[in-house]
Structure formats: C-alpha cells, structure tokens
C-alpha cells in the first residue's frame, strides 16, 4: 500500500499533465472549427516544405468524405477519382444503394487503396459492395508513394489522428513558421493537379474539402494531352502482381461480407499483347471468384475525346462514363 501511495506521488506530475492535455483537447474539440482532415498525419506541414497535393486529397477523402453515407464504396487511383461522379451513378442504382467515391491517386499506391478499403468498410458496416477502380496502367506495376502511411495511420493505428488539437496544427505551424495567421492554408505542391495551385500558401483546403463533399468524392482534373493513336503497351506490367492484388482486395471485401466490383479505367489506346494478358488474368481470376462483379468490359475502349490524357476522363467524359457505369451496375447488381 505504501509503495502504491509513493508510486502515485512520483507519477502525480504525469497524471496532472494528462489531465491538462485532456482539457486542452476538450477545448480544441469545442472551439477549433478547422476542417477535420487537417488532423491527418499524412499532411507533413514541415518548415517551408510543400505538402504534395495527392496527400492533401487523400487526407480529405479519409477524413471528410469517409463519414458520408454509402453502400458501394469505391477505392482506387485517379482514373476513378476523376472518372466517376457518384451523384450521376446513384440516379441509376436501385433504392437503398449509394456510391461513395473514395478513390485517390497513384502515389497512394495499391497498399493505400487496400487500406482505404479496409478503413471505409470498418466505417460503413452496412456497406454491400467494394468497388475497385484502377487504371490498367497501374494495376500491374509498382508505384512509389505513401501507401504505407495510410495503412499505418488509418488501419493499424487509426486513433493517432483523433486528437482534436491536431486541427489547429496548420494554424500553429503557419504562425510559427511564417509569422502570420493564414487561415489554416497549406504550403502545397500543386504541380501535379488542377490549375493555379503553386507551391505557395495559396490554397484554402476547406474549399476543396467542401467541393469534394458536394460531389461525393469526384474531382475534376484539368488534363489535356493531344491524342495520337498508339498501342497501350502497359509499362512495367507484372502479371503476377495483378492476381496478388485482386486476391488481397477480394479478401478485404470478403472479410467485411461485401462483394468486390472491379472496374478497370477506360482506355483510348489500342489493345495489344499486354492488355490481352491483363484481360485474361482478370477473367481467370473471375472464374475462380465467381461472385466478383465486372460490370463493364475489362478492356474498355471509349471515345478518345472523353479522356484528357491516357488515364483521366474530362468532366464531360466522366459524366458520360458515370451514366454508363450507373446503368451497368444496375444491370449487374439487380441480376
């Protein structure tokens, strides 16, 4: 008993500190009104170092879009981020089904898509389907990025981003690093996406967050690349990787008692040996996993004018594609 009391005395400063921290967190929860995604550990906010736009978009998806309702949860790369407009797709779906676009970008890596799927299915226990939409260019190759960060922060240790005081991190770092309150703006490297987002404190993240909430996760990408007919020639394609990835995503869906829907992003290039290999691998996988749904053709050639570049649909193209996908999903899911 004596040792317990003396132990408590020794740890008293720590206990008081924990109480102080709890009070600060309560105050932050009550008064800091910054967007929740600013809590994300994906945002570095290092001194004078721009945050990559892909990280900002992923943080917004994981924090601001994830809590929205949805029974078909879409994950994957930017072919789906810019390609699928849930509000259009949902108009075609039977009552009770609603699509939520949680697709990110290539630097989120496949492990990041998997982790997003895992986190999304945990957050939506009533979800019916997991829709994986990836570009044929990326499903069979390794890309560099921050997928393991997503896995660590949102699947293995999701509570690390739960501190309300983290919402004030952008305000605090702005003040200390730049000497002014810039309204929680982020120093972002916007060279990879959109217009006018230079590597300066120029973007108000709240606006993008609200924009994405309004579209249920769809983001308009301004890409333009003149079309010259060419064979696809999937670079660094690895057939074994495709099967392994499909297997893993199928397991994630099965673990949460949902069905996997696979959509490979539309293409404007001409099919070749590599795309045929991909198609046969996917069909082989489907033959051993018959409950997997593939609503559109595996190699989905569309009007080149609908694609801004090899992977991303234009706004108009995504509208047309979403209508097609909505109709195909209704057909496949009602069956």
């Amino acid at each position: 008993m004596n040792s317990f009391i003396s132990g408590f005395k020794i740890f008293a400063p720590l206990c008081v500190a924990v109480i102080c921290i709890a009070l600060v967190e309560l105050l932050c929860a009550a008064f800091v009104k910054e967007p929740a995604f600013l809590e994300s550990p994906l945002l570095h906010m290092a001194y004078r170092k721009p945050v990559r736009m892909e990280r900002v978009n992923s943080a917004i998806k994981l924090h601001s879009i994830m809590p929205l309702p949805g029974s078909i949860l879409q994950v994957g790369d930017s072919s789906g981020l810019a390609g699928v407009q849930p509000r259009i797709v949902n108009a075609y779906l039977p009552a009770g089904l609603g699509l939520l676009n949680l697709s990110m970008q290539v630097p989120a890596q496949f492990v990041g898509h998997e982790s997003t799927a895992e986190a999304a299915l945990r957050a939506h226990p009533d979800a019916k389907y997991l829709l994986l939409m990836v570009s044929p260019f990326h499903i069979g190759r390794d890309d560099e990025g921050f997928g393991e960060d997503i896995e660590r922060d949102y699947v293995r240790c999701p509570w690390v981003s739960a501190l309300p005081s983290l919402r004030a991190r952008a305000l605090v770092t702005n003040l200390v690093f730049y000497g002014r309150d810039t309204g929680g703006r982020l120093l972002m490297d916007g060279t990879t996406i959109g217009e006018g987002n230079g590597p300066v404190l120029s973007k108000v993240p709240r606006e993008e967050s609200e924009e994405l909430k309004g579209t249920l996760g769809w983001l308009k990408l301004n890409r333009h690349q003149d079309f010259v007919p060419h064979p696809c020639g999937l670079p660094n394609y690895n057939d074994g990787l495709v099967t392994a990835r499909l297997e893993r995503m199928y397991d994630v869906a099965a673990r949460h008692r949902t069905r996997l829907i696979l959509v490979l992003g539309p293409m404007k290039c001409a099919p070749d040996g590599e795309t045929e290999k991909l198609e046969s691998t996917v069909r082989r996988f489907q033959s051993t996993h018959p409950d997997m749904v593939i609503p559109l053709p595996v190699f989905d050639a569309i009007n080149p004018a609908d694609l801004g570049d090899d992977v991303h649909l234009t706004a108009e193209g995504s509208r047309r594609y979403s209508e097609r996908l909505g109709a195909a999903l209704r057909h496949a899911l009602v069956q």
Partner: protein, 471 residues
C-alpha cells in the same frame, strides 16, 4: 523497428515491459529480453537476425573456451578467431562493396579489364555496434579482466538487449551483463518515471529537432545558390546529427531504465567543448572509450614519445572515422579530428585563452572549437551525401526558392530548444535529462505538456531513419 514508430511506442515497448514485469523467474528474463531483442532487430528483415545470432554465439563459445584454458597460444588463437570473425563480418557487409568498387576504379584507370565482384547486400543496421560490444567481451576475457559467462541466454540478451542494439551505447559486459542476470529488484517508480521522461525527451529531440533539421538541410541543398546557404546547411547538419544520435541514446537509456537497467552515458553537452580531447570525452563516449581502451592504449598510447603518440592518435582516429562508414570523407573526418587532437596537444589554444582571458577565454575557446567541429561535420555530411562540388558550388544548384533569412530562421527555430537545454545541463556538468529528478512537480507537469504538444504540432511526419543506424 524504429524507436519513433508507432509499432515500437504503442505495442512493442508496453508489451515487452509488461511481460518483463510479470516474469518472476530470474533465468527466464534473459530469455524474454533475447527474444524481444531479436523481434525488435529483425522486424521486417528476418535474415539480419542470423548475423546477430552468429556473432553473439561465436563470441560466447570462443569466450567460454578461452576462459577454460591456460594455454597462451590457444587463448591467442581464440582471440584471433573472434577478431577475424567479427571484423570479417564488418568487412564483408560494410566495407567490401566500397573497397572493391574503389579497386575496380583503380584497375580501370590502370587499363585492366578484370573486375572484382561488388557485394550489393544492404548493410545490416547496428552491425558496427554489436560487433564492437561482442569484441570487447572477448578482449576483456583475454586480458583476464572478465570471466566468461556460462549461460548462453544471458550472453545473447547482453548482445541483443533491444534499447542499445541499433546504435549503442556500446556497453561493456562487466557493466551490463550483471544488471541483466542478477535477481530482479523491486520496481523502482522513480527510475521508471525518469526513464519515461528520457524516452519522451529523446523522441522530442528526434522528431522535432533532428528530423526538422533534416528537412532544413534538404532545403539548403535545394537552394545552394543563396549566399550563406552552405553555412546554414553545415550548422543545421551539426544540430541534426547531435539531436538524432543523442535523441536515440536518450530513448535507449530511458527504455533500459523502465527495465531497471542503467546504460552508460553517451553524450555530455559536446558542443560546449573547448578542445578536441574534451569533445571526445563528451561525444559518443562509449565509442571513444572503446577506441581508447582497445586500440589507442594497445598501440602504445602516449607512452613511447611524441612521434609514436602522434602516429597512434592519427591511426586511432582514422579507424574511428572508418568505423562510421565506408567512404573517403569518413576517413578524412577521422583524420581531421586526429590532426586537431595533435595540434591542440602541441599548441593548447584552449589553455592559452583560458589562462589569458579567464571565463571570456573559455567562451572564446568553446566558440573556436565549435567552428572546427562544424567544419568536421561538413566532411561527415559529404561522406553519405555526394561530392564536395555538388554541395558547395552554387553552379550545381537550381534557382533558389527561399532566401537566407528563411533558412536562418528555420535553423534558430529548431535549434533553440536544444541549445537552451544543453546550456542548462552544461552549467551543472550534466545532461538536461539528468536535471529531471531535481525539478519541482509543477515544472515536471509543464515539461510533460510542453514536450507532448511540441511533438504533436511540430514533430516531422516523415520517417527519417536514425543517422547512426547507417553505421
């Protein structure tokens, strides 16, 4: 596994600590520490555990056989066996690639077409630390300063004790082994609380000071056309390497304390040193004392005249530089410190300044030597970051994105906590964490809250590996 990873902080450490506290049997605790050490070390790369196992098992057996014989030749043979094995491991994994690449370059220059095969196996982290720790054990037995340990689990736990496995302190068997194997004392709450703060303080040094300094160093590299960016880079790297390594040591010592083990001090406010000999008594103390005891003194130390002393100092420091990494700049860094030691011995600038100007002279001596230390770190930085020209000739850099003011502000911002706390420690001839038990409860509470929020708000989110893991 990294000390600054969630896996370590939230899973590995609490689980290992809880199991250690639950285990009542004295013999079982080294088993637990060994298993935890191997899990910690081999996390994600199981094959590297084989090297650790091979090194420690070989030295345990050689030590046992050496201790069991009085035959001088046999003892020498066992010592030689251990030296060849451990230095062979180091040579193979750490130096062979660099050495063979240089030899191939020389052969090409000489017009020879034949090439040596270059080993491309990644360097197993911590190999320089645990091989030196194991070697010290064997040499101490050879010198009859130590009796060989009879229980292999005890010895395995000594080499694989996870807090100091990756980057030291390089412990001596006489100091650490008894602490791991003697019957456990009751849980000391005071030591635990101190250990907990050491861990927090080390994390602060690592993720707030060192990692942000790492970002600043990269920022300087990208803006070398800015006049003065090279100086900020040198200063930022000086702070980074100290915060990184001493942060690691604080976490290691703190973790060990949670297990009732006291590890050796590795740093003592080194940047306030007035001379190179003082610096090496304050910087990486466990390595400098290892080199003194097992290299410098056996070479003859300062016992055989001035010339032999100079030779011994230069050879010792050259090897100390080489210990840090396979590269010409590491060797140059070691030699540079060797030369400083020799020059200060011949012309003791610090003593002159102190005798002529008193306290002001001491400050001047510290500033002078700090400048020399920074110059040395530039060599060290180059050791793993490209060529001199790439770093210091602006013609090689892209157009600057930030000015000198911004770079200098970043330097002051992140260095300030370290400078202030080190100053407080230096005044008492201790480290800042040694002052912890003497703080009033309100001061401790304030520090806990402050450290927590500094880590939360300013801690780098990117995983920067500890610099000394490369060695």
């Amino acid at each position: 596994m990294l000390f600054n990873s969630f896996d370590f902080v939230f899973f590995f450490l609490p689980i290992t600590w809880a199991l250690y506290q639950l285990v009542r049997l004295t013999w079982l605790r080294p088993v637990l520490l060994t298993i935890s050490g191997y899990v910690f070390y081999a996390w994600g790369r199981p094959w590297i555990a084989l090297l650790l196992f091979a090194s420690s098992t070989t030295d345990f057996l050689l030590g046992l056989w050496m201790d069991g014989t009085e035959n001088r030749r046999a003892r020498q043979g066992f010592l030689l066996g251990s030296l060849v094995f451990n230095l062979g491991l180091l040579g193979t994994f750490k130096y062979s690639g660099w050495l063979f690449a240089n030899l191939n370059g020389a052969m090409t220059a000489a017009g020879l077409t034949w090439k040596l095969p270059v080993l491309t196996v990644p360097l197993p982290p911590g190999i320089s630390f645990y091989t030196f720790q194991s070697l010290a054990y064997i040499i101490d037995i050879y010198r009859r300063k130590l009796r060989a340990h009879r229980h292999i689990w005890d010895y395995w736990s000594f080499v694989a004790f996870f807090p100091q496995l990756f980057a030291g302190p390089i412990e001596r068997a006489g100091h650490l082994l008894p602490q791991l194997t003697h019957p456990r004392k009751r849980v000391n709450f005071r030591a635990m609380e101190w250990g907990l703060f050491m861990v927090l303080w080390g994390l602060l040094k690592k993720v707030v000071v060192a990692d942000n300094m790492g970002n600043l160093v990269e920022l300087c590299r990208g803006n070398m056309a800015v006049h003065g960016a090279g100086m900020v880079l040198a200063l930022a790297f000086t702070v980074q390497i100290y915060a990184d390594f001493s942060g690691y040591t604080d976490i290691a010592r703190g973790c060990a304390r949670l297990f009732g083990v006291r590890l050796r001090r590795n740093f003592l406010t080194p940047y306030f040193s007035c001379s190179p000999s003082e610096f090496w008594q304050r910087w990486h103390i466990s390595l400098s004392s290892w080199i003194r005891d097992y290299l410098y003194i056996p070479l003859g130390g300062n016992r055989y005249g001035a010339l032999r002393t100079v030779r011994n100092v230069l050879v010792t420091m050259l090897l100390a530089g080489l210990w840090h990494g396979a590269g010409w700049f590491f060797i140059a860094w070691g030699l540079y410190h060797g030369l400083l030691l020799v020059l200060y011995r011949l012309w003791p600038l610090d003593a002159w300044l102190k005798s002529a100007l008193g306290d002001i002279g001491k400050v001047m001596a510290a500033i002078c030597f700090f400048g020399l230390t920074v110059a040395g770190w530039v060599l060290f930085y180059l050791g793993s970051n490209g060529t001199f020209a790439e770093v210091f000739f602006p013609a090689y850099a892209a157009a600057p994105a930030v000015g000198l003011g911004a770079l200098a502000y970043g330097l002051c911002l992140f260095a300030l906590p370290l400078v202030l706390t080190d100053w407080l420690g230096y005044r008492k001839n201790r480290e800042f964490i040694d002052l912890w038990p003497h703080l009033p409860p309100a001061g401790k509470t304030l520090l806990y809250v402050l450290v927590f929020y500094l880590i939360v708000m300013f801690g780098a989110r990117e995983n920067h590996e500890f610099i000394y893991f490369r060695f």
